[in-house]
């Protein structure tokens, strides 16, 4: 039956897309862990939005105030590509003492769920997804941070490859337990 074929094709397309997107996310995580920052910047669209709000303890029923607002409040990060490039440049000066010697990083990405596809799975031009992350950071001798949270990404296909157009990071901390955020989520 035609409908069965369509359904089957659609299921295969979604499976392939999922495979494709996950491979991209793991590749990206690897670039960060391998300190291939220039290659990582290439994975960002020129109009990328990178937003990491701070989180408040708020009363039940007032959860709309839990996160600091994009574009209005102070956030841990709320920026586009120019500032992200500057962060990479700073690490690459060799005298950015907070990253010299360089941190040892492991980005673990998991619980990947595709939440939206445009226009469709077989011909995806833009994908929205959410996932969980654990970032393990160890530097100098015993300095260790473990940051856990949720991420919501929008990927856009440009010149036949995926690029990150938007990243929202919901870090599961109130008072930040790390002394700095010199790495990328």
């Amino acid at each position: 039956m035609v409908t069965d074929n369509v359904t089957a094709n659609d299921a295969v397309a979604r499976l392939l897309l999922r495979q494709d997107v996950e491979a991209f996310l793991y590749h990206e995580a690897n670039l960060l862990d391998e300190r291939q920052y220039d290659d990582w910047l290439d994975l960002l669209t020129d109009d990328v939005r990178y937003w990491v709000p701070m989180r408040r303890n708020v009363k039940f029923g007032e959860l709309e105030r839990e996160f600091t607002r994009e574009g209005q409040d102070i956030n841990w990060f709320d920026e586009g590509k120019p500032t992200l490039i500057q962060r990479v440049q700073q690490i690459q000066t060799g005298v950015h003492w907070a990253e010299e010697p360089l941190s040892r990083l492991a980005h673990l990405v998991t619980n990947v769920e595709i939440t939206d596809v445009q226009p469709d799975a077989a011909d995806a031009g833009e994908v929205s997804l959410r996932c969980r992350f654990i970032i393990y950071r160890n530097r100098v001798q015993t300095e260790t941070d473990i940051l856990v949270g949720r991420r919501e990404d929008t990927l856009r296909r440009e010149d036949g490859q995926w690029r990150i157009a938007r990243r929202k990071v919901l870090l599961d901390q109130n008072v930040l337990l790390a002394k700095n955020l010199t790495f990328f989520f």
């Binding site: 701070m54 408040r56 303890n57 409040d73 700095n180 955020l181």
Partner: protein
């Protein structure tokens, strides 16, 4: 608050005559515990900003020293600061960061406190207490001294503490640069939403002394200067407005406060800055003209980083913010950072500054990241049995400061070390530790208010009164 102890216990830790400070005061647990008693229950501490509790019932949970406090506005519109600990059995009454509430109800047994601190709800008051509990005696512990100075809310646990304006003395001239609008309008600033809070593995005094005027550590910001995040696209700040200005380190040894400033020449005119955005450049240029008009000679002063003893530091402009270094044990500091903008600035200006503030400051800021690395490992490397026997060196520029600084007819309040040619000095840090020693030695505020009789608690002649109080 009067403290009984042997003042000699801490003498010798700060050798002000030779510019030496024992490392013990940074790493020693007993000294840390004494600091909580002698400094943090007696000094004026920054608690928050008026704009955070604008409406009746608004509250913001802050910290004084190690302890959580509630800053709130009651139904009558009055602002209070309370210890955030239930008077019944100590439970943290409010565990939210901020909000609006008619009452604070304790989760443990249900005692409930009004926003003016009074105990209004006691479960089974009739049956269990037989109405014999005197509720009026069991309200939240109110911080007895509180002041709202140009929107900044300050508090002290010590009923004997001098008024806040006496506490800051002549430093007021410099603090005003932080809280007034950039055009000079009285208290014309407000807070941008979102207070940064994070932990730094370092004693609280490292950042406090850094901000009081450590020009010497400029080199540690080489990487951000190379990248250029400043509001005119270069360096980390826009230094154009400082052209031809003198660099001065100003401090008040009898009070412990200090700041670095830039003093423009007597014939200086406003210059364009914040060149990355024409609207912002135009705004600040107009402000500079208005400010010059309003303030006359004082306009020549451009503020830099400063510290109000003990643990409130600030940057008055680039980027305009307040940091409080909350002690969390000798080896850890919880930093809270508030960001200020001119209340009447157009949205484009506020947005431009917000972005600049984020990329400059705090754990995600390209500048402050390197500061924290230094505080972290300076502290860590000072803790060992041998390392702590050494003393830190604060001898730079010793003997070169003056109490009667004058330039082009402008007399500056405070003890001034001209660092224009020297580029750096440690007069302000010596001031900070002199005052630290005073607080550790003094029995009460009679001894701490040494400027009243020309003597400090350490017995040295109070210097640098300058134009204090004018």
């Amino acid at each position: 608050m009067t403290i009984t102890f042997q003042p000699s216990a801490f003498s010798g830790l700060v050798d002000r005559d030779n510019g030496l400070v024992s490392r013990e005061i940074f790493v020693n647990h007993d000294i840390y515990a004494e600091e909580q008693e002698r400094i943090f229950t007696r000094a004026w501490l920054f608690v928050g900003h008026e704009s955070q509790v604008a409406k009746p019932g608004d509250f913001f949970i802050s910290s004084m020293g190690e302890e959580s406090v509630i800053l709130c506005r009651d139904r009558q519109g009055e602002v209070h600061v309370f210890l955030n600990s239930c008077t019944h059995r100590g439970m943290k009454v409010c565990r939210y960061d901020e909000g609006n509430t008619p009452i604070f109800t304790c989760p443990y047994h249900g005692w409930s406190f009004a926003t003016d601190g009074s105990l209004v709800g006691v479960p089974y008051y009739k049956d269990a207490y037989h109405e014999e509990l005197d509720k009026s005696e069991w309200g939240l512990l109110r911080v007895p001294r509180m002041t709202n100075y140009k929107g900044g809310i300050w508090a002290s646990w010590d009923p004997q503490a001098p008024d806040f304006l006496e506490y800051i003395g002549g430093f007021r001239t410099y603090l005003d640069i932080l809280f007034d609008g950039w055009d000079g309008a009285e208290g014309g600033t407000e807070i941008i939403g979102g207070i940064e809070k994070w932990l730094v593995p370092s004693n609280w005094k490292f950042p406090a002394e850094n901000f009081i005027g450590d020009r010497y550590h400029n080199i540690s910001h080489r990487s951000v200067d190379l990248v250029g995040i400043g509001p005119s696209g270069q360096g980390r700040r826009d230094n154009r407005e400082r052209d031809g200005a003198k660099s001065l380190d100003v401090s008040f040894p009898e009070r412990g406060h200090g700041t670095v400033i830039f003093l423009r020449p007597a014939d200086a005119q406003p210059v364009q800055s914040y060149q990355n955005d024409p609207i912002v450049a135009e705004y600040f240029y107009a402000c500079e003209i208005a400010r010059k008009e309003r303030q006359g000679e004082l306009w020549r002063i451009l503020g830099g980083p400063g510290t109000i003893f003990p643990n409130m530091s600030y940057l008055p402009r680039q980027p305009r913010s307040i940091a409080v270094w909350h002690p969390r044990g000798p080896d850890q500091t919880e930093v809270w950072r508030w960001f200020l903008v001119d209340r009447s600035a157009p949205p484009e200006v506020k947005e431009f500054l917000r972005q600049y503030y984020i990329r400059y400051s705090g754990p995600s800021g390209l500048t402050e990241q390197d500061d924290m690395e230094n505080w972290n490992y300076a502290h860590a490397a000072s803790r060992g049995a041998m390392a702590r026997r050494l003393r830190y060196n604060y001898q730079m520029g010793q003997g070169y400061a003056v109490d009667d600084f004058e330039d082009g007819g402008l007399h500056l309040p405070g003890t001034v070390l001209d660092t224009t040619k020297a580029r750096a000095g440690e007069q302000n840090q010596r001031t900070f530790y002199t005052r630290w020693a005073d607080f550790m030695a003094a029995r009460d505020w009679d001894e701490l208010a040494g400027w009243r009789n020309g003597k400090s608690a350490n017995g040295h002649a109070a210097q640098g009164n300058g134009a204090a109080g004018r």
